[in-house]
Amino acid sequence: MKKEEVPQDKGNLSNKNMKELVYATDEKGNYTTALSTGWEPKTIALSNSIEEISERIAIAKAQVENNEVSPICYYMEFCRMDIGVLSSYVGMWQWRVKRHFKPRVFARLSDSILKKYAESFNITIEELKNFKTN
C-alpha cells in the first residue's frame, strides 16, 4: 500500500480521536509508517458483528420477559460473552451455567452463586434478581 493510499475513512476510532499505525511505502518505494483514522470495510465488518450481538441481546430480553430463560442469559449476551467465557468467569461447568438459564432453577439459586454471576456482569445481585425490562 502506498502512503497516499492509507485510508482516512470515518470509523469507530475517529469518533474517539484515535488513529492506528500502518506500514506503507513512500514515493521511492521504501517502507515507512502512517496514521489512519479508519477504513470502511473494517467499519462495516465491525458493525455487522455489533448488529449480530444486538440481535441476540434483543432475543434474550424477549425470552426473559416471557419467562423462557433467566436474566443470566440476558446479561451474558449483554456482556458479549458466550457460555464458555461465562462459565470460566464464574468457575462452574458449562452444563451448570446452562441449567441456571432455566427460570425455575434460577429462582432457587443462593445469593453466593448469584454473587458470582453479578460480579462477572459488573452488576449488583439486586439488579440480577429484579430484571428490568427497559
Binding site: 500500500m1 469507530n12 476510532l13 469518533n15 474517539k16 484515535m18 488513529k19 492506528e20 499505525l21 500502518v22 506500514y23 506503507a24 511505502t25 518505494g29 521504501n30 517502507y31 509508517t33 496514521l35 477504513w39 470502511e40 470495510p41 473494517k42 462495516i44 465488518a45 465491525l46 458493525s47 455487522n48 458483528s49 455489533i50 449480530e52 450481538i53 456482556c79 458479549r80 460473552m81 458466550d82 464458555g84 467465557v85 470460566s88 468467569y89
Partner: protein
C-alpha cells in the same frame, strides 16, 4: 513510581511491546524486525473453535510466541510469570516498578476502558506495558495507542485476570538479560525459514493450504449455512484479518517492511524484490476485504458473489505459495 519509558506506537500489540521493551533495554530493534525474526506471519483455520459464533481463523501464532522466538534467536533472556493469586500478581508488578523495570502484560481487551466500546470483545491476547504507578492509576503504554494512557488499579487487575480462552492469569514478562552484541543475521535467517516452513506446511488447515481450504469453504457457506450465516462468517473473516492485531494486508506490509530491512542487513538484493512482491500480495488481501465487506453490506443473496470471493482468495493462496518458495530459496 515512574520509569523513563519511551512509548512508540505500533501496528500490532505483541511486536510493539517487544520492540518497546527491548529499546528500553538498549537494543534498538524495529517493529518489523521483531515481527520477522519472531515469525509472526501465520495462518490457521480452526473450525472447532468458535469466536463470536463463527469458526475461528487466526492470522498469527500463539500469544507470546513472537517474543519468545525473537528472544531465543537473539540470545535474550525474558522472564515470564503467571499467577494464581491476584494479590501476588499485584505485588510482583509493583516490585518491578519500584526497581525501574517496565513490564509487559498479557491482558483481556473487554475491560480496557480506553478502547472504543465497539472494540471491546472477550479477546485475551492483547499486550501492553506498565511503566509506572500513581496513588490511583497505573501508567500504561499500549502499543496500538498513539499516546500513553492509564487504568485504575481495579481496572488493571480486571484485565490481568480476564477469563476465557487464553486467560492471561496475570501474566507479566520483561527482559532480564540483553546482550550488547546480537547475531541479527543468523536470527533473520532462522525467522524467515520458520515462516516459510509454517506457510508451506503440508497440513490442510495451516498456511497456504489453510487459506485455500477456507477459500473453498466460502463457496459452500451460502448453500450449507444460508446467506445470513454466510455473511456473518465473512464479516468475521474480515474482522479477524483487519482489526486490532491485523492479519491480512496489514501483516503483509509489516513483513514486506521487514524484508526490506533484512535485505540491507544481509546484503541480499533478492529480498528487496521479494519485499515488493509481498506488498503486492498485501494489496490483494485488502482488495479481498473490500469485496467481502461489499457482499455482506448489501446482504447479497446471490451465490456467484461468494464464488468470485472464493476465487480471489485462491489467487492469493497461489501467489503466497510461489512467494514463500522463492523466499526459501533466496536465503538458502
Amino acid at each position: 513510581m515512574e520509569t523513563n519509558f519511551a512509548h512508540h506506537q505500533s501496528a500490532h500489540c505483541e511486536n510493539g511491546v517487544a520492540s518497546n521493551l527491548l529499546k528500553h533495554n538498549g537494543l534498538n530493534i524495529s517493529e518489523p524486525m521483531v515481527f520477522g525474526i519472531g515469525s509472526g506471519l501465520f495462518f490457521v483455520y480452526l473450525p472447532f473453535l468458535k469466536v463470536n459464533y463463527a469458526p475461528a481463523i487466526s492470522y498469527r501464532p500463539m500469544p507470546g510466541s513472537i517474543f519468545n522466538k525473537l528472544a531465543k534467536r537473539l540470545g535474550l533472556k525474558i522472564k515470564r510469570q503467571k499467577f494464581s493469586s491476584e494479590a501476588n500478581a499485584i505485588k510482583a508488578l509493583d516490585e518491578n516498578l519500584k526497581n525501574n523495570i517496565p513490564s509487559g502484560l498479557q491482558v483481556g481487551v473487554y475491560n480496557l476502558t480506553y478502547f472504543p466500546d465497539e472494540y471491546r470483545f472477550h479477546f485475551n491476547a492483547h499486550n501492553l506495558v506498565v511503566y509506572g504507578k500513581t496513588e490511583t492509576d497505573y501508567l500504561i503504554s499500549d502499543p496500538v495507542m498513539e499516546n500513553v494512557t492509564t487504568l485504575t488499579h481495579a481496572e488493571l487487575n480486571k484485565v490481568r485476570f480476564a477469563k476465557g480462552a487464553f486467560a492471561p492469569r496475570g501474566q507479566m514478562y520483561y527482559p532480564i538479560q540483553v546482550p550488547a552484541n546480537v547475531d541479527l543475521k543468523g536470527a533473520i535467517i532462522k525467522g524467515i525459514k520458520n515462516t516459510c516452513r509454517d506457510m508451506l506446511a503440508p497440513m490442510p488447515i495451516i498456511g497456504v493450504r489453510g487459506i485455500r481450504y477456507v477459500a473453498k469453504l466460502i463457496k459452500k457457506w451460502p448453500i450449507k449455512e444460508g446467506t445470513k450465516k454466510a455473511n456473518h462468517y465473512l464479516a468475521q473473516i474480515v474482522r479477524m484479518q483487519e482489526e486490532i492485531g491485523t492479519g491480512g494486508g496489514g501483516f503483509r506490509f509489516i513483513y514486506a517492511a521487514f524484508l526490506q530491512e533484512a535485505a540491507v542487513i544481509l546484503g541480499n538484493d533478492g529480498l528487496k524484490t521479494l519485499s515488493l512482491e509481498m506488498t503486492a500480495i498485501g494489496d490483494l488481501w485488502r482488495d479481498f476485504a473490500v469485496e467481502a465487506s461489499r457482499v455482506y453490506k448489501n446482504r447479497s443473496t446471490k451465490v456467484d458473489v461468494y464464488n468470485t470471493l472464493s476465487d480471489e482468495l485462491l489467487v492469493i493462496a497461489d501467489r503466497e505459495e510461489v512467494f514463500f518458495k522463492k523466499l526459501k530459496k533466496a536465503i538458502s
